[in-house]
Amino acid sequence: MTVDDPTRASSAPLLSGRGLTRTYRLPRPSPFQPGAVRHALIDADLDVAAGESVALIGESGSGKSTLVKLLLALDAPTAGSVTFDGRPVRPGRAAALRWFRRDTGVVLQDPYSSLDPRMRIRDTVAEPLRALSIDGDHRALVDEMLERVGLTREHGDGYPHELSGGQRQRVAVARAVVHRPRLLVGDEPMSALDVTVRAQILALLRELRDDLGLSLLTVSHDIGLVQHLADRVAVLHDGRIVEQGAVDDVLRNPRHDYTRGLMASVPTLD
């Protein structure tokens, strides 16, 4: 279901998924029986406009991660298509996707496991610059980005274990945007963090979005984060997008039973 949404920009979206479907064939129970098919994602349409922040919510197994993988060309859809800036995006050889990788950055959930403990912070942050063959003075680009995310260039000489959890997540953010992508994708970017650090990283993401004109696509089960970070939200349940629209419309007046149940259990302070 797609909900008409007046807040949505009328211009062509930056990232667009149409009819995205992903099925997996389960192992056959015996050589004489056909294997069952599992539908991880069914006919999902999702757009992210330039400068827009979109959140995906839904419980584990709802299809959020599958949708993100398809949108990032980390997996091929069974049906449907993805475009970025009007160009088709399909999984394939790294060289053929380099233009797309240069325009996207990813932050994962856990700052402890997403940083290589043996690598200096500076080299970790510089990784995308090397991998994507970005021109320019890598050291200067890294230093600038470290400062922009609230660290210092001196942090660049250290190792992950010397940093706090919040600083590590800042490093992960710096690495995700050092090559100046147009879209930043976060998979539960704050669920492993303390509340004060969470508030700081949230503020940082909003600041980066404004300063760099980034579009954001965030996967989260944290409704508070969605409210404070996203313009629009898509709710996934059992492999389908059951509703999407402006955050306040969808979450304050949920139409689908799943969203209603979810909103009834959200922890609040009042």
Partner: protein
């Protein structure tokens, strides 16, 4: 059972991690303990359990009813864990043994402390599984942790913590690793079981929205010191200490606002 901690100091390898914490929980009372990572919340819990690292030195007093726990040998401390003090840690993936059945894990405190046999252990495990709302209790006790969802696993951990009817329950971020809806269910379960049994509860979290669902009073820790305590409603609306104000502001900036 009452817990009273008086002027507790813990040093780890010469570095102070808890400096003069005093707090008390009366019989059947619930207290929240909040603070950031490194504030000393978990260390306080470990001190009560007698599970601090060997490098730790402890001064002050931790009394469980009339019994002094500081200075107790591990041999004397161990029988209290599981029997009189139940524990629920954050991540059910790490607190359950992947190669043992659910039933044998739920019943372990009974087998350890009451020396009951296999058959009775199984029956009591089924009963406990039903009490925490696990589906098909008689079947689930023969399954393994990986066959359960995250919320079910945390229910198993709660069943294990409560099966020996401890009179004090310690919980350390018990719902942080769970989905929103599962989190709400598990918190409600927690509150209900503790209420029904009159268990005293020390509940550690950094999430004020979670805290206010389970306890009415809380203490705020920062850098190993207790900086403020009082009714949760007061702490949320009139935080006095800068640390509490910071926690409340951060919570407001990240928690769902209904208005």
């Amino acid at each position: 059972m009452s817990l009273s901690i008086d002027d507790l100091h813990v040093d780890l390898g010469g570095r102070p991690v808890i400096e003069g914490v005093s707090l008390s929980i009366g019989d059947g009372e619930r207290l929240g303990l909040i603070g950031e990572s490194g504030s000393g919340k978990s260390m306080t819990l470990l001190a009560v359990l007698g599970l601090l690292p060997d490098a730790a030195t402890v001064r002050g007093s931790i009394r469980l009813d009339d019994r002094e726990l500081v200075g107790l040998s591990d041999r004397d401390h161990a029988p209290l864990r599981g029997a009189e003090i139940g524990v629920v840690f954050q991540d059910p993936r790490t607190s359950l043994d992947p190669i043992r059945t659910i039933g044998s894990q739920i019943a372990e405190p009974l087998r350890l402390h009451e020396g009951i046999g296999r058959r009775e252990a199984r029956a009591r495990a089924i009963e406990a599984a039903a009490e925490v709302g696990l589906p098909d209790p008689a079947g689930i006790v023969d399954r393994y942790p990986h066959q359960l969802s995250g919320g079910q696993r945390q229910r198993v951990v709660i069943a294990t913590a409560l099966i020996a009817r401890p009179r004090l329950l310690l919980a350390d971020e018990p719902t942080t690793a769970l989905d929103v809806s599962t989190q709400a269910e598990v918190l409600d379960l927690f509150r209900r079981l503790v209420d029904e049994r009159g268990t005293s509860l020390l509940f550690v979290t950094h999430d004020l929205a979670v805290l206010r669902r389970v306890v009415d009073h809380a203490a705020v820790l920062s850098a190993g010191r207790l900086v403020e305590q009082g009714p949760v409603r007061e702490l949320l609306t009139r935080p006095a200490h800068p640390v509490t104000r910071g926690l409340v502001a951060a919570s407001e900036a990240t928690t769902w606002r209904t208005t």
